[in-house]
Amino acid sequence: MISGPLVIGTAIAYVVLLFVLAYISDVRARSGRGALLRSPLVFTLALSVYCTSWTFYGAVGSAARNGLEFFAIYLGPTLVFVGWWFGLRKLVRIGHRQRTTSIADFVSSRFGKSAGLAVLITLMAVAGITPYIALQLKAITTSLGVILSPEPAGVLARSGDDVGLAFAIAAAMALFSIFFGTRNINANEQHHGVVAAIAFEAVVKFVALIAVGLFVVFGIGGGVAATYARAAEAGVNLDPAANFGPRWITITILSAAAIICLPRQFQITVVENADENHLKTASWAFPLYLLGMSIFTMPIAIIGLSLLPSGADPDMFVLTLPLTHDSQALALFAFIGGFSSATSMIIVASIALSIMISNHVVVPIALRMPALFGLRQGEGMTRLLLTSRRLSIGFVLFLGFVYFWQTSGSGALAPIGLISFAGVAQFLPAILAALYWRDATRQGALAGLLSGFVIWAYTSFLPSLGASSPQIADLLANGPWHLGLLRPQALLGLSGLDPLVHSVFWSLLGNTLALVFVSIATQNSAMGRMQANQFVDVFRRSDDEQKGFTRSQAPMNDLFVMARRVLGTAAAERLFEKFAPTGRDALQVDATPRFISRLEKELAGSIGAASAHVLLGQVVSGESVTMEDVMQMADEAHQIMEYSQRLEQTTAELQSTTSQLQNANTRLRQLDSQKDEFLSQVSHEVRTPMTAIRSFAEILLTHTSLSESERRNFVSTIHAESVRLTGLLDEILDLNALERGEELWSNEAVDPGQALDRAVEVCAPITSQHNVQVTIGNRPRGLRVHANFNRVCQVFINLISNAAKYNDSANPQLNIDCRLENTTFVVDFTDNGPGISPSDHGTIFDKFWRGKRNPDTAQSGSGLGLAISREIMAKMNGSLTLVHGEGRGACFRVELPILEEAETAAAASPNEKVTAGAGLPRDE
């Protein structure tokens, strides 16, 4: 037994030492003197965070129980690191390119920067790692119990006292991690101090374990051969074939997945990695380290089993063997080694998880609800990040503690670790798809992760809690609702398998199938496609700029090619030659900052500042595009789009103008053809009287022997036709003027009854010539309409003479009926002539339409009368319509609105109307 104060004091002193070491390393790294910190050796040692207390203590227990099985835990990582060229190198390269901050960031970044995916992975990681942290707590409390016990070999896990102790340790670890991991916020999430401390711890645990191993083999066992000779006696099966089976393969796969997928491994391998060439060193050094850590596992197990009492906990052989052989100092050293293993894991894991929680869960929420987090515009983000990380660390450790509390006393270390491994292994399909499968989609990744996670939780995580809850125990035995097919450890009746193999089989199968099938069924977004190419083609894009991190290494060829593409060959050559030293060719330009900035300006002139910066940045530094760059590019693209939208708008306006012009053109052509038609009709109408005039004139000229009566007759025909011709020309001009809207007369207050009387009077010769009996009924007197007296007469005369000229009845009649309807003066001209056939109803008001003339008359209308009359009525706000043309006779109706008293007065004196009708305010 070692005294409590000594053990506690040593542990505290060790922690203080770590803190000082981390602090100094941070300061040195900051001042640029951290060469050692950035060395491949430190990187490799930091990778050993893989070896936790589970490895330190638990591997021996595993060897004691399951023989060589423990070796598979080291085989997986070894394979991954030996084959670093194929997988890890790509992972690290992409991690650098994308400035990855965590495994959640990595996967979500590949699948179109999906926030949902990041949250899911964060939650899965927290759930998966919680048992693992509990495992470390368990290891520390148990080892403390052992080292402080007067009867160390007899100590088994005691739950009661340990809970308080575990809580104290968890709290201490939380403080420790917060001190180390969240002292500041670094852009690329590198923690030089932490890495230095972890590397130091790697050395401590390595030396401690080797020391114990040497002591056990040579101090107690009497040499290697003698030790292994006790194997059979101890009941350890050393036959490799006995262990080689599904479980062995499963563990190898799980451990290979874990070295990539464990958040803390990802943190060290990808995020904290300073140079991907360190992988080359780690590829042999790390497996060597693992070999060192495992070489004495089996001997310790054999000696422990053969020398210690049968009730001794194999997981604690590393401590109990020195203790029982009076090597207190070695025991204390071993305890510190185990303590190192546990703390390094807790520190890195909690930091990695806290980054994920704060980056993917807290910050997105805070950005959406700034008020809730006391965030003001552009302020306090750093503070928020630090706070959320500190709280996250506390939260993660608290979860670990709760899990420990609930499962305390439920068994060995190794199974708990394997549950975690199986949990984080669910990331593997998504990561492999991210690296190699271009067509994997966000939905596929989500579906795969979710399926795997659910199956894992059901088949591994839930059963691990079986001891703490009778309901869960019942579920394990009988399945939910007593459905045997759904028993967590025998899904679909697949029983007889090791629970671990069973869980890994189903979860990875479901995970992979969902990923593949959903990916095939869905499409990548634009962002997803872009990122897929960035990931899958990471080497193709930049083989020759692998180490181009500094400006001086900017490959001039690439710069020149790019400049030529953007600026044109001549301009690019001029620019490069201008900066080239005299007498050397253009490509030997030194990439001075002056030259680079000049080039950037030139490029910006062509493609915009943001794009120029991005282009140049890619060639010069080999860095990938940052979000900010993308936003600026998007801004410029947006401007271009706006411009093109304006162009489209202009195009649309032009198109509409064109179509308007086309319509106008069509209309013009219609009008033109109407004009041609009109001219043709006018020509025909003019030719007809001209024909008679010319023909009779020729007769008079050539036939000298005509009688006087013949001569008179011919001359009077010529005269009549001349008059007709003149009238026709007058009417054409009149109609033309009316149609053009010319002001041919001014309207005034007119008595329509008087105009009707005048028209009947004027038409008396025609009506009597045609024997038409005209009847005029009673009519309202003293009405006034707004019209022109002569023009109203013209319309009436036209209607009366038409009724006379075209009436073929034996007893021709014309009935003129006028009346007042509301405020309208209405006159109907009804005859008993041939009427208008229905087919002509639409055309009688057209120009040159003629009714069937009475053949006895030489008089012939121009065919313009009705057209002119209708135009005249329109000019007086009145109308001329054909009322009923069915059967015998036609009826034309004239309507004119009558003037009110006041209007009558105003219309009678147009000059007064201007002032009276202006509607000006009275008190003006």
């Binding site: 020509s683 024909t691 023909s695 007769i699 012939s860």
Partner: protein, 146 residues
């Protein structure tokens, strides 16, 4: 009653001689009274027997009843226009070769072409010189028989 106006209906000059017995040399189809009277005057004075009608329908029945040796045909006519009359006559075997002189104020090339395609024998535009009409009639009928 037929709407055909016989020679006696003509308002001005009426040629002497056998009215209903001998077929006329020229059937004038013209709705303008002044033009009709001038045509009758010059053709009669040149020695041709004429009869006249004033619309397209009358023209077709007059051809059946009087068997004129030729037609002087206006195009713008009431009831059936000149093109219509021309096409109907050309569709019948007995009048396919009947000489038809188109006399119209529609002077456009398109009308002339349409008339010739429909089978018009000659085409004179109004206003015409009297000599042109007489020449055209003479070339279609030969010398007038006195």
């Amino acid at each position: 009653m037929s709407s055909v106006s016989t020679g006696s209906d003509a308002p001005i000059f009426h040629p002497e001689g056998p009215a209903d017995q001998a077929p006329p040399d020229v059937l004038i189809v013209e709705d303008e009274p002044a033009i009709l009277s001038s045509l009758e005057f010059i053709l009669n004075h040149a020695g041709w027997r004429t009869r006249s009608v004033q619309d397209g329908e009358a023209a077709l029945s007059a051809v059946n009843r009087w068997h004129p040796r030729m037609l002087v045909l206006d195009l713008m006519l009431p009831k059936r226009n000149g093109f219509d009359v021309l096409a109907s006559l050309r569709a019948r075997s007995d009048t396919r070769e009947l000489p038809i002189l188109i006399l119209t104020a529609k002077g456009q090339q398109q009308d002339r072409r349409t008339a010739m395609e429909l089978g018009a024998s000659a085409f004179v535009t109004k206003p015409y010189a009297n000599g042109d009409v007489l020449e055209a009639v003479a070339s279609l009928l030969g010398s007038p028989v006195r």
